[in-house]
């Protein structure tokens, strides 16, 4: 029996007719997902500059849907152009994009998979601003530059806050109109919601800053606005960081604690959220999210795409580029990982939040092994797990599990090269150990670009002089 052969307990359970908990449906207030596996938010620069999505994105999402997961949480979808993290990600800021998203939803649904749109706003955490945004500081809860890259920002006025709340509600409405199965508010990992929530970032003195209740007001107002816009029957989940660990740059404050996040989760539940998705960290990427390695050679090859984005990026590039300086960044980055596992890195925090709320909890953070996921769900750490990197490596991972395997033959190594390539190169697996050669890797990356040549001659009224 090899490592990847069907495992004893799973096989016996299957034989005995006992349903594997991974493959039992997960019922939310307004949504039922066929199993407990969610494709976590992940994307590449697949889409058009104006925010309209492309066939490539449809191909990308279908790849996972076909693999057997229960639901896809879309890539980061900005509700406003000023909230993009990377130009080239599809947005939901225009009504005329609804048909595109409808097409995508239909495609995913054709594989018996649900599609949840992640409504997002970058705030100050804008990696590649693009032509729409590079001429202005981004809007944020604060006017303090982003700590790691030195992205510029400006504290939103109250009018801008209200405008943004409305944009989220509009985004949710468009998602519902597109026939999608729900929305997730990305209130984790350093984006706009985190910038309001985190005590390490939010320095406002109005009703959106100060106490935890004030800092959570923006998120709760958005939930309320969405509920007002789309009603109580449309699935709405919230992704939060259980602990900020905001001091990756050592002189920054630590930010929110677990107990504060438990309180926020309870408030979200009360405000009308149908589920809590638990992550970690007040910036992205973060040493604990996604957990795993950090390839200096890879980041050196891709970080140049971000050098013009911030006032501290050149410093970082030198730290990445020169081996003599690398220990400085290595220390800052890896000191937080000590003693923590990669798989299930956020399990304990998810358990704490699940114990405090009645709605389902989804945990993210390195999940890849069936037995571990099963144990986490059975022990009430969470109700389901969301996965990105392991599914990029093996999009049919659920099928391996369904066949009784604990791990696929060539599992994700958590090298994080997929993440580090995101600002510059197509999304996909870049782990050289998983490919026979570079050409094989490129071939894998290109599979999602397999589009249909349905080019049309534009009508005269479509051509703008």
């Amino acid at each position: 029996m090899t490592e990847n052969a069907p495992q004893g307990s799973a096989a016996l359970a299957t034989l005995a007719g006992i349903k594997d908990v991974i493959f039992t449906p997960l019922k939310f207030n307004n949504l039922e997902v066929k199993n407990r596996i969610f494709r976590s938010s992940v994307s590449g620069r697949f889409d058009n500059e104006d925010g309209s999505l492309t066939q490539t994105r449809i191909n990308w999402e279908c790849k996972f849907a076909k693999g057997g997961i229960g639901a896809i949480i879309s890539s980061y979808v900005p509700v406003l152009m000023e909230g993009r993290i990377i130009a080239g990600y599809a947005t939901i800021h225009r009504d005329d994009f609804i048909p595109y998203w409808q097409k995508l939803g239909n495609a995913v649904h054709s594989f018996d998979c649900k599609f949840i749109m992640q409504l997002s706003h970058s705030g100050r955490q804008m990696d590649v601003p693009g032509v729409h945004n590079y001429a202005r500081p981004t809007l944020s809860a604060t006017s303090k530059n982003e700590s790691l890259h030195g992205f510029l920002c400006r504290a939103m006025t109250l009018g801008e806050v209200h405008h943004t709340i409305d944009a989220f509600a509009q985004g949710a409405w468009r998602a519902r109109e597109a026939g999608l199965d729900g929305v997730e508010l990305h209130a984790a990992n350093g984006y706009l919601f985190t910038q309001f929530l985190s005590s390490g970032i939010n320095d406002r003195t109005d009703e959106y800053g100060g106490s935890l209740a004030n800092r959570a007001r923006f998120l709760l107002d958005v939930i309320s606005a969405i509920r007002s816009k789309v009603g109580r029957e449309f699935h709405l989940q919230v992704k939060i960081s259980a602990v900020d660990h905001n001091n990756v740059v050592p002189w920054e404050k630590k930010g929110n604690t677990l107990s504060e996040s438990v309180q926020v989760a309870q408030w979200c539940e009360a405000a009308g959220a149908d589920a809590i998705h638990v992550s970690t960290g007040s910036l992205f990427p973060h040493p604990l999210n996604p957990p795993g390695g950090f390839s200096f050679e890879t980041i050196t090859a891709t970080y140049d795409a971000m050098i013009s984005s911030g006032v501290s990026t050149l410093r970082n590039y030198f730290l990445f580029r020169y081996p003599m300086l690398r220990p400085i960044f290595y220390w800052a980055w890896f000191r937080m990982k000590r003693g923590r596992p990669i798989e299930g890195v956020g399990e304990d925090e998810a358990r704490a939040i699940k114990a405090a709320v009645k709605i389902p909890v989804i945990s993210t953070g390195g999940w890849q092994t069936a037995s571990r996921i099963r144990a986490a769900i059975n022990s009430n750490a969470c109700d389901g797990v969301s996965i990105a990197r392991s599914l990029i490596a093996n999009s049919n991972l659920p099928k391996f599990w369904a066949d009784g395997h604990d791990l696929p033959p060539s599992p994700c190594t958590y090298c994080n090269r997929c993440l580090l390539n995101a600002p510059k190169n197509p999304m996909g697996c870049y782990e050289p150990l998983r490919f026979a050669n570079h050409d094989a890797m490129v071939e894998q990356l290109m599979t999602i670009y397999n589009t249909h040549p349905v080019l049309q001659v534009p009508r005269p009224d479509e051509v703008v002089p």
Partner: protein, 524 residues
């Protein structure tokens, strides 16, 4: 170049930051500039502090006369100050612009100009400062005025410089007294000394002047005053040394060994003796060296002498000492210019062989023979009855100190010193250059040495380098110590340490036998 507006907000922020930080950048640039200049200055200073170089001479005789053995760093005088002292203290230099007033001997260079430094003074650049001080030739190069045959067989009349013979001209005590007094003299204050330095050579640069004003001159004066405090009480209890003489061990005890004068015994305070010759050192290996025969190792004796000259364990130049030591192993004295009657010489040789050669070896046509049953052995002073002061100046206590403290833990640690009870029987090679005779130079001529003590000169002039062609030795007219002649030193055998008693060998020979013996001795 056309000035462009920033394209992105980040560029605008960076431009704004640049403008805001211009004063900071200027400050940083100034700090960096100061840092660079400071670093360069520190490097220069470190380079200067690391400097320790000295000229080396291909010709071993030049090396002996002018090469350094490492005395300069801790005992020497900065060269620029050395040059300034004659004009600053004209009364001590007899108005001359050199150090010949103290008996230092100058040679001329190829162009006939007097060399800058006298024989026996070497120069070393230490921490980028040129410093001068003694070497082996200080005490072991003398002059003789006579008609001599040079190696080419030509007769040359005049003053001849003889490397290896005792420094019969050097009045070391007077030189030491001058320096120690100068340390307490206001003319050695920085203002006056620097002004004189600038007059007697290239003007000091501003940095050098600062270094001289605040470090070199104060350090020199401190050192001189400290030595003055230690040495003057000793010199006050001693008779004048006179030219060609030195107290080998007592200054050594006070300065190098740092022993307080009060802890010395009265009997050891006068150790004045003649500078010895250093011909033919090779055959002397294993013999008792020094006047009192207190050491049987040439290398250890050489190192001890170098310490007396001023080297320290930190500064000693072993290679230089070794080069000179190897050379003097075979250094021959020039042939005697005396031409005594051959018959008398033959008769005198018979007497010498029967009565003297056992202790002193002998000379024949093949050179000096270092053969004798007691040659190089210590003759108890109870038997010899010479002046005991030099013998008593080296004590068992000081010997123990030497063995316990000098070069401890190194291959050079002293171990051959012994305390003796007499004076060593010395080979007599180059005898014609070694007057006055006996260890303390108390007998001016060989003829006088063969006289009974009561008939030996009581007082005589020392420091004349003209040969006494009749009696052997240098001319030494009688003198009155109470009215000494100008520019001459009147040696008084009645003073402590100067006694001309002892060594009665040959004094009872008949006059004719003495004449024959003298004739033979003049050929050595």
């Amino acid at each position: 170049m056309i000035r462009e507006f920033p394209v992105t907000a980040v560029q605008e922020a960076l431009h704004r930051r640049w403008r805001l930080l211009i004063p900071v950048y200027i400050l940083l640039a100034i700090i960096v500039l100061i840092g660079i200049v400071g670093a360069i200055l520190v490097l220069i200073l470190l380079w200067q502090l690391a400097q320790n170089r000295t000229p080396h001479y291909a010709d071993i005789i030049e090396e002996f006369k002018y090469g350094s053995i490492g005395t300069e760093p801790h005992s020497g005088i900065p060269y620029r100050i050395w040059r300034a002292l004659p004009t600053l203290f004209p009364e001590d230099f007899a108005g001359r612009q050199d150090y010949s007033a103290f008996g230092f001997v100058y040679e001329s260079d190829a162009d006939g100009r007097q060399r800058e430094l006298p024989i026996g003074i070497s120069r070393r650049t230490y921490r980028d400062v040129d410093i001068v001080w003694f070497n082996c030739a200080t005490c072991h190069t003398g002059t003789v005025s006579a008609t001599m045959t040079d190696p080419n067989g030509r007769q040359r009349t005049g003053r001849h410089i003889i490397p290896g013979m005792p420094s019969n001209n050097l009045y070391l005590e007077r030189f030491i007294r001058f320096l120690l007094n100068a340390g307490a003299d206001e003319r050695l204050s920085p203002d006056k000394l620097i002004a004189e330095i600038d007059k007697t050579g290239p003007k000091l640069g501003p940095i050098d002047e600062l270094i001289y004003r605040w470090y070199i001159i104060p350090t020199l004066r401190e050192g001189l005053l400290e030595r003055r405090t230690r040495l003057f009480p000793l010199l006050g209890q001693q008779p004048p040394w006179g030219p060609g003489r030195v107290d080998t061990f007592n200054p050594y005890k006070l300065i190098q060994a740092n022993i307080p004068l009060a802890s010395l015994q009265q009997s050891e305070l006068i150790g004045i003796a003649d500078f010895p010759s250093i011909f033919n050192q090779g055959p002397r290996e294993g013999m008792h060296l020094h006047w009192d025969g207190d050491n049987t190792s040439l290398a250890e004796r050489n190192l001890s002498a170098a310490i007396g000259a001023g080297v320290t364990p930190d500064s000693v130049d072993f290679d230089a000492i070794d080069r000179v030591a190897r050379w003097v192993k075979t250094l021959q004295p020039p042939p005697s210019p005396y031409q005594p009657d051959a018959t008398a010489v033959a008769r005198g040789r018979d007497i010498f062989m029967s009565q003297c050669s056992a202790c002193h070896g002998f000379a024949d046509s093949g050179g000096y023979r270092f053969i004798g049953s007691t040659i190089g052995q210590v003759e108890p002073n109870d038997k010899l009855r010479a002046d005991p002061h030099r013998l008593d100046s080296y004590t068992e206590k000081f010997r123990e100190f030497q063995l316990a403290n000098f070069f401890v833990g190194t291959p050079h640690q002293f171990k051959y010193f012994v305390k003796t009870n007499g004076y060593a029987n010395l080979p007599l090679d180059g005898l014609w250059l070694r007057a006055p005779y006996l260890h303390n130079g108390s007998i001016p001529t060989l003829a006088a040495l063969l006289q009974a003590p009561g008939q030996r000169p009581i007082t005589f002039i020392r420091g004349v380098d003209r040969l006494d062609m009749k009696n052997g030795g240098f001319e030494a007219p009688a003198c009155d110590p109470s009215t000494p002649p100008a520019n001459a030193f009147c040696f008084d055998t009645r003073l402590p340490g100067n006694s001309n008693t002892g060594h009665l060998y040959g004094t009872d020979l008949p006059e004719a036998a003495k004449t024959n013996l003298l004739a033979y001795l003049l050929t050595f």
